[in-house]
Symmetry: C2
Subunit: 323 residues, 2 copies
């Protein structure tokens, strides 16, 4: 029987699934971050190895003599040839590792290295065709059609353009609160909401919180639910921020759809990430707009996690000459 | 004869002027940064001491036995009581320093500690009434009327809202270039302009430049002239970015004017910072809008540097019980 590994590596954790050639999950392991561009290749290798180990130990309860015939690693920010070379080096080290109780039987075509949007798409839809609209801390829209053509929009990071992301919603919320406080724009309940949530004596103390506590993108993005809550309660300023986020995601999605799918072609749009959990109906608005423009689309929540998408891509490499 | 020190401390340099009680500059010194919240109080103390020393040595060519009777230090980001206490501690250390060839005769009311917008206003206008519209790396609008009332709008930093700043212009320019590249927004010459200026093989390499080279706010803000140039050549997308920046600065300025000055009251609006040097007529647009809304205003470029504003505030403390 053939086994493959599907690995989803991100900025906060790494997930590994060990699946058999029927797509059945035999083991699952989690480990720490594996965004090597921030934490380095050594730490990334150790996280991936740890996740694999945990998955393998679980699988050993069901089967022994585990021979891995394909591996797919999906990593955030990995797309350029030089990135792929780095991750190939990591796979080589995994193969040489004496710590993993597995045997390897990998040819070059069974080592799949790709960015995280592709595995999110394949896991989310359960099949490597469709569109993923990821809106969490960051945002990206990525699609793939039946011919294997791909198109990506956004995903340029918090500074250059993660439009519609939790980070942008949070920052827009704080900016609107301070503009109201300055008296330059409409007043908004966001001022009180940030004060209460962050236990600030005055909204001016946002400066203390944001600049002096060394908050990063993730901590700031985690404030997006404050804006969402205030929007859900009907605050006009907060609602506009959520609507703007929805519009950005709709625009990015329609750009990808138009590049990949013809009229009346059926495809699925999978929505992933924390932004879609908002109470202010951002998912409803997004879905309604997309279906109005593209009636043959279907908007879904993910069927499986991204690591399963990686596993499916690994499996596919066993049966197809090219994806 | 009385002498005073006017000190302008910022994120890249510190300027000290030693002036006599007629406002005549006898010595000028420059030193490194003195934004103590970033570099610490010790480094700030050393910068300020170094700038004072240089100014004093120059003044000693004209006079000896220099007795300092007032000092004003204007520092970026200093406004809260706890900040002022820190800077008072620095003044105490300066008074105790055996390295400065001066004698001190300071009472508490002759130690003026304030934020940099106030000294920019006083230096720019030459008098402590009016409005300063600072648009450099960051942005802030600050005003003071004849009754001593003050009003500040903006200045919340690059993340929370330095609207109209060089940083925001640069970021908006890069975002627009990437949106055009994605095919989601109108095409723009910004793509080629960033590629050429930063010697990028593809605009995707902006990611490399912005995230992986560890660029800070200042380095990013330094890209604003690229957007300004493209706007000056008539590119619609770049022009909209410059127009949006102008609108933000006009909005912030009119908010301050309305809070401080009555109809027909005459006052000056001094514009400081790199954004105003743009070729795309941002200063003209700003001036025209302000004068249309407030015909009694006069828009000027700074008459003196901020350190002279600090010196004038120090001098004023010698003659007035309160500013």
């Amino acid at each position: 029987m053939s086994y493959v590994l599907g690995i989803d590596g991100g900025g906060s954790k790494t997930v590994c699934l060990l699946i058999d050639d029927k797509g059945k999950v035999l083991g699952r392991g989690e480990a720490g971050a594996s965004n090597y561009q921030s934490i380095g290749t050594k730490a990334t290798l150790l996280s991936i190895q740890s996740a694999i180990y945990t998955a393998v130990v679980e699988a050993q309860k069901l089967t022994d003599n585990i021979k891995i015939e394909a591996i797919c690693i999906g990593l955030a920010g990995v797309g350029r040839p030089e990135d792929i070379e780095v991750v190939k080096g990591i796979v080589q080290e995994l193969k040489n590792s004496s710590l993993l109780p597995i045997t390897w039987k990998l040819s070059a075509s069974n080592i799949i290295i790709c960015h995280d949007a592709l595995i999110a798409l394949v896991g989310g839809v359960g099949y490597p065709v469709g569109i993923v609209v990821a809106a969490g801390t960051g945002s990206i829209v990525f699609g793939r059609n039946h011919n294997g053509q791909t198109k990506r929009v956004g995903g340029w990071g918090y500074l250059l353009g993660d439009e519609g992301s939790a980070y942008q919603i949070a920052v827009a919320g704080m900016q609107a609160a301070l503009k109201a406080y300055d008296g330059r724009e409409m007043s908004t309940s966001l001022v009180e909401a940030f004060k209460q949530s962050l236990e600030l004596a005055t909204i001016e103390d946002l400066i203390e919180v944001i600049y002096r506590r060394g908050w990063g993108v993730k901590e700031i993005a985690a404030l997006a639910p404050i804006v969402d809550n205030v929007a859900a309660y009907g605050d006009e300023v907060a609602q506009k921020i959520i609507d703007d986020a929805a519009k950005e995601l709709i625009k990015a999605t329609s750009t990808v759809i138009e590049a990949l799918f013809s009229n009346n072609e059926r495809f699925e749009v999978v929505t992933t990430g924390s932004v879609w959990q908002g109470k202010s109906r951002i998912h409803d608005k997004f879905t309604a707009s997309v279906l109005t423009m593209f009636p043959s689309a279907k908007v879904i929540f993910p069927r499986h996690e991204p690591a399963l998408g990686a596993g499916l891509l690994a499996l596919q490499s066993l049966t197809l000459p090219n994806l």
